[in-house]
Amino acid sequence: MAGAGSACLTVGLLTAVYAVLASVHGARGAGRQWVVSGRRAVYCLAGLMVAAFAILESAFLRSDFSYALVAQGSSTDTPTFYKVTALWATQEGSLLLWSTLLSLFASAVLFLTRRSLREIAPWATAVLAVVGGFFLLLMVGWENPFDTLANPPAEGAGLNPLLRHPAMMIHPPMLYTGYVAFSVPFAFAVGALITRNTGADWIRATRRFSLVAWTFLGTGIMLGALWSYTELGWGGYWAWDPVENASLMPWLTGTAFIHSIMVQEKRGLLKVWNVCLVCATFALALLGTFLVRSGILDSIHAFGDSTIGVQFLVFIGLVVAVSAGLIISRLPYLRSEAKLDSLLSRESFFLLNNLVLVGLCLVIFWGTFFPLISEALTGEKASVGPPWFDRLTTPLALVLVLLSGIGPVLAWRKVTWSSLRRVLVLPVVVAAVAALALATLTSAADSTPSLIMFTFVAFTLAVIGQEFARGASARRTMTGEPLPGALVRMMGRNRRRYGGYMVHAGIAVLFLGVAASSAFLDQRDLRLRPGDTFKVDGYQVKYKRATARLADDRAGTGAPISLGAVLDVSRGKERFTLHPSRNYYATQDPSKGVISRFFEGEANSEVDVRWGLRKDFWLAVRPDLSSLEGAIAKGDREFRDSPGDTQALVIAALADRYRTNPPPAAFRAIVSPLVVWIWIGGGFAVLGALVALWPSPEARLRRVRSLYAARLGRELSRA
């Protein structure tokens, strides 16, 4: 079937080229049938990509090692769950995932807009086909996922152990879905610029896709943070790593875009800003895809060097150059339709929030690419490190949280000082009380930025709580409904608004978790023998015994050997046991011995975390294998030609030796306050985004339409 897969890619590339030519031909007046034909070509492209994806996924599930990619990224003992994910752990597979998702999103948006945007849609079709065609060209020309091996190995190399984590099952597709979905508003923005239709039509047609992109990208980032926290063994969730930053940058500009398009939709303002933002977001999404595998920047998340770096950079350069050229040439058509009525208005604060978000993005961009910049200027690669990022991003994050609280209380166009005072009194009082209580009753004042963040979070949550309460109360006054019913119906009728507020609340809670966990964590690094004890943040910890498991690791990743520890933890009446371990995976490196290949291949931590709403207890272990080195070397020599069963017995004996007579092991224990709220807040934000995305029932829309139509009709007749 590899031939069929390759044929799907080649025909897909031809189809994408045809879609570009037919759509442009149709858009230039050759006849609408060409536009329909171009659109159909995109649908066909989606069918071809889904077929190619299914063929490759099936090869992974069958452990068909005649596919080079399967031999390189999977093995027969890889659990089925991870065989599915192994496809996108490879460069070729991730390109295929990108193209498949893109073709599906392109088909969805072109189907939804088939009855509208008559002039813009054909150009958008062409842009989407160009992007899809680029990824197909990479696969057909350089990175074919369907390459086969003349002599397939009996066993594959296996999936990178670091990627054997449930979050990794969905983290990359989430990120890629986010990246890909941003290509939709980008394509329609380019279409709008080419056709000079720079009103809000393209924004209305693609708003949901922007929100989908934002939601998926945000979810992907949060899952990546969760993976980092529970898998990488260093105890943090965010390291300002280039690949992490690369996913955060388009999310930040995408957040700015989602806010600023509301200003264009409602007021006809910020047109230039919006097209700049969407083009920047798409270029950053491409950059993120490129960085994750390029290896041009040192990253804990980069898995291998790229052979397509130049092609990617040329394409990104092309996107930036064409976008910039189009925007400059269309500046006369991008003039605002109105002026800001007042600096004290929601649109003014949206603009401010946009500046902060873009400022954050610029800081992160500079810090991420500083190693390349410094190398270009001085010949030496220097990096700025997390403290630099923390110092510059913390003030901006504080302002952002404050703005996310102020924005919802402001009305569009103009707010009077008296109205502002009225709606701000309660949140300001709540924030002041929270600050006072935290400063006097807790140690929050030890970190001024954290105390400010807690205060702003309290303010934001109070504002949003007040918005829900006042909204429900206003509806109850209008309709006489009981308060709970009024609240639900109010949210149902204003999903965008209240979904957005939920997102603000979720992000505020997320920042609460970040501020508390980063400023007030207690960390201990030590070496312990069984029976040793230590204290961390008031917890008494005792290393009870060592453990050794064969082909039975706790997380079910398929690790042949897992060495770990059992520790009892207690504080007051609270008692629990933790089982951190370290998994060892066999390497296929022929230079390693028959026994040492099981101990000297990839290894990764299986962290054990006691999750809690107030604080987490995080524990990792790194066993010291030096005492086994002699025995392992001896095993390599003496059992080199022994049957596999005998070698397995030797490995079992070595593991048992570690269990019964363990040398001191290195432990890292961290107690982080409120860290779980990062994911609770993030999850709530995603829920809010889903509320904002959810379409209103058609029947309700019709009723509203008719009500307003009648009302407007009456006014019209009076005019």
Binding site: S37, A200, A411, T416, A474, R705, A709, L716
Partner: protein
Amino acid sequence: MGYALAFIILVALVAMAVLIPLTRPGADLAKDEARIEELKAAKEAKYREIRDAELDHRMGKTSEADWRVLDRELRGEAIEVLRQLDKLEGRAPES
């Protein structure tokens, strides 16, 4: 399945799908239909703005005077959209 055979089959299938519309000129929607869809979306957006403004006012974010001015303006814009819709849909404008 061999590459060549798969290639030929897939090319034939795609060609059939994309060439059919070329044999039926005028199969796509007329210019007016597209504009009607856009105006319907614009109408929904304007209604949403009217509701938002009303809710803001009821929640005490805007004064009575400011809200009345804004509401009148938004309704005027909505009426303009409805007029254009009526015109395109062949209905007599309300008088």
